[in-house]
């Protein structure tokens, strides 16, 4: 186990580029009978090719105990992944499915039965142009992605149509992941300025609603400017805003 991990260890938290290779000797791992065969999981940006693991995205190598490795990259184009929650825009109603734009190369489909409490009689009220917060149930490269607005128990669980007013805007996928991470400081700092509602989709879309239009715009601009700022810069900026606005 240590043999595999040791080849990653030096690079954790470092920038890696596409084409970088992590080598380990499979035979030596297998021969060494004293250690149990241990698996590692390659997350986004890493791919196994025989004896080596190749990097195919540029970004920072991350590690999560016990055996998960992935690349934290800053791309903008979303690629659907099963189980991820996204914000979609309904673009068409065709028969019993809605077409939803999620910012990926293809539109996703959303069945009208995939809402909480929806039956054949009781159709959900969804209009073209509405925002939906939904989860991918099918997402692979060969098929049209499919969304649902219910969890496995049939509950909405926060999903469904939303956004009567408020502002929708796009940020990079890296920033979205930073916003959603449990130890994220950005949201904690931001909510000290004034209260607002926020919906964050993993496809890079963020919806904000604050008390007034001006406040909504401030929050949106602040979030966008968080994209490339250090923690100190961000705190200084937020402090300036808080002093000025309140």
């Amino acid at each position: 186990m240590d043999i595999i991990h040791s080849c990653f260890k030096a690079q954790i938290g470092e920038v890696v580029l596409p084409g970088d290779v992590f080598r380990f000797n499979v035979s030596s791992v297998e021969d060494d009978s004293s250690v149990k065969a241990e698996k590692i999981i390659c997350g986004p940006g890493l791919r196994r090719n025989g004896d080596e693991i190749q990097v195919y995205k540029s970004g920072i190598l991350r590690h999560k105990q016990p055996n998960l490795y992935w690349i934290d990259s800053q791309q903008k184009r979303y690629v659907p992944v099963k189980g991820e929650s996204v914000i979609g825009i309904v673009t068409a109603k065709t028969g019993d499915i809605f077409k939803v734009d999620v910012g990926s190369s293809e539109q996703a489909s959303l069945s009208y039965l995939a809402f909480e409490g929806a039956t054949k009689r009781n159709r959900p009220n969804v209009q073209v142009g509405d925002l939906v917060y939904a989860q991918f149930i099918i997402a692979n490269k060969d098929m049209e992605p499919e969304l649902v607005c219910i969890d496995s128990c049939g509950r909405a669980n926060g999903m469904g149509v939303f956004g009567a007013d408020g502002l929708l805007f796009k940020v990079s996928l890296g920033l979205v992941r930073r916003l959603l991470s449990p130890q994220s400081e950005i949201v904690k700092d931001l909510e000290k300025i004034f209260p607002f509602e926020m919906v964050v989709g993993l496809n890079g879309r963020v919806w904000i609603k604050a008390k007034t239009i001006q406040q909504t715009l401030i929050v949106a601009n602040l979030l966008e400017s968080c994209e490339n700022m250090t923690a100190q810069q961000r705190q200084a900026l937020f402090k300036r805003v808080a002093d000025g606005a309140l």
Partner: protein, 395 residues
């Protein structure tokens, strides 16, 4: 890939914020985004950044037989291209409506206004003339492509130099730049497009709409004008009924913007010329700021931070006679010119007082205070008619 649709919530929000005189990026109604003009190492190559919109223009020339009807005139050819690089919604080999409109407008702006002396492009009458070809490529689309394209095209044309030729009898010798210095085109004037977006059937007006604003606008008015305040072309699309006053007001705003942009272009050209003469380094690569990660940079969004009403009253009470505020273009790096620094508006036209960066620019705001221009139907402001010559030229 299809274009990202506009959701109902974005549309409602944009219209509401326009009603409240706010824009997404914190600009004022009449503000342009930052304009940056950069020249490449070759003559006649120019990129223009208008906020996040980015356009590249390249001028080239070749010797061709002239048209039979005009044997002594050179030819001008314009071509604008929208590639999927600019926006995933664009397809490379499809004649979309937007593409046709932009091409046509660019042609009207630059060819029909006769800003380039075509007679001087004649080499042998009836046999050989120069054909000047302007290729405009949109590199990134964030709204207002027309203005960016027109600035890029005219800057590239003013920057371009064609090879020197010598005629002996029937023989034409084209000299390489090493043998004889290339000659610049004779540019009579610089027509520049200024776009106005109208909302709510013309009740609200915005200068330099960004992409999202373009998606919700009702109508668009494009005015091409030169610094002598002559209108080169004017086009209204979207089918809204504009009042005479509104068009006149727009042309007045356009004249201010055009004089500023013209000054910026000439500054950028001068700067590039100086650097070339001194033998310094020039071109796109040189104008990139070094030791900075440029991929993810975005212009810092101007934020409205102070409580509005209190300061506004204070400013009004303190305001005195407005001096002429003409922003001076900044030269960021060699081969570039730029107006505005992102955070505060440096345009002469300043109106609403509900935006403030810090209290320290109070003095500057006082100066601008009296130039308030509000667009709405009920208006008491005096209408100034532009010079008649300019009006008659409007096609």
């Amino acid at each position: 890939m299809r274009e990202t649709p506009l959701s109902n919530c974005e549309r409602d929000f944009l219209l509401k914020s326009i009603e409240a005189k706010k824009r997404l990026d914190g600009r004022q109604t009449y503000d342009y985004r930052n304009i940056k003009i950069t020249f490449g190492t070759d003559y006649g190559c120019c990129t223009v950044c208008l906020g996040k919109t980015r356009v590249l223009a390249q001028v080239s020339c070749e010797l061709v037989p002239p048209k039979d009807a005009r044997p002594t005139e050179g030819l001008m050819f314009f071509n604008l291209e929208l590639s999927p690089m600019a926006s995933p919604g664009f397809q490379s080999n499809r004649q979309s409506e937007l593409l046709v409109t932009l091409n046509r407008q660019l042609e009207r702006c630059l060819r029909n206004s006769r800003c380039i002396d075509t007679e001087s492009l004649c080499v042998i009458s009836g046999e050989k003339v120069w054909q000047i070809r302007v290729d405009v490529h949109v590199l990134n689309h964030d709204g207002n492509l027309m203005d960016a394209a027109s600035v890029a095209a005219i800057s590239a044309l003013s920057h371009f130099k064609r090879p020197e030729v010598a005629i002996q009898g029937r023989d034409v010798t084209v000299f390489s730049p090493e043998e004889r210095d290339p000659v610049p085109l004779s540019v009579y004037h610089m027509p520049i497009c200024v776009s106005f977006a109208f909302f709510q059937q013309g009740t609200y007006l915005l200068v330099d709409p960004c992409e999202k604003e373009e998606q919700v606008m009702d109508g668009l008015l494009v005015i091409a004008m030169n610094k002598h305040r002559e209108i080169c072309f004017i086009q209204s699309s979207g089918g809204i009924m504009l009042l005479k006053d509104q068009v006149l007001r727009c042309s007045k705003i356009a004249s201010v913007k055009v004089s500023e942009i013209t000054e910026l272009i000439s500054k950028a050209l001068e700067n590039d010329k100086r650097v070339r003469k001194e033998g310094g380094k020039f071109g796109f690569a040189e104008s990139v700021a070094k030791e900075r990660i440029t991929v993810l940079t975005r212009e810092e969004a101007p934020l409205e931070m102070t409580d509005v009403q209190a300061t506004a009253d204070e400013i009004i009470s303190k305001a005195d006679a407005p001096p002429e505020v003409v922003p001076s273009p900044v030269i960021v790096a060699t081969g570039t010119g730029q107006v505005g620094e992102g955070l505060q508006s440096t345009w002469g036209l300043e109106d609403d007082d509900d935006e403030e960066e810090e209290m320290s620019d109070l003095t500057e705001r006082e100066k601008k205070k009296d130039e308030v221009m509000v667009i709405s139907d009920s208006e008491e402001e005096e209408v100034v008619i532009l010079n008649q010559a300019g009006q008659s030229k409007c096609s």
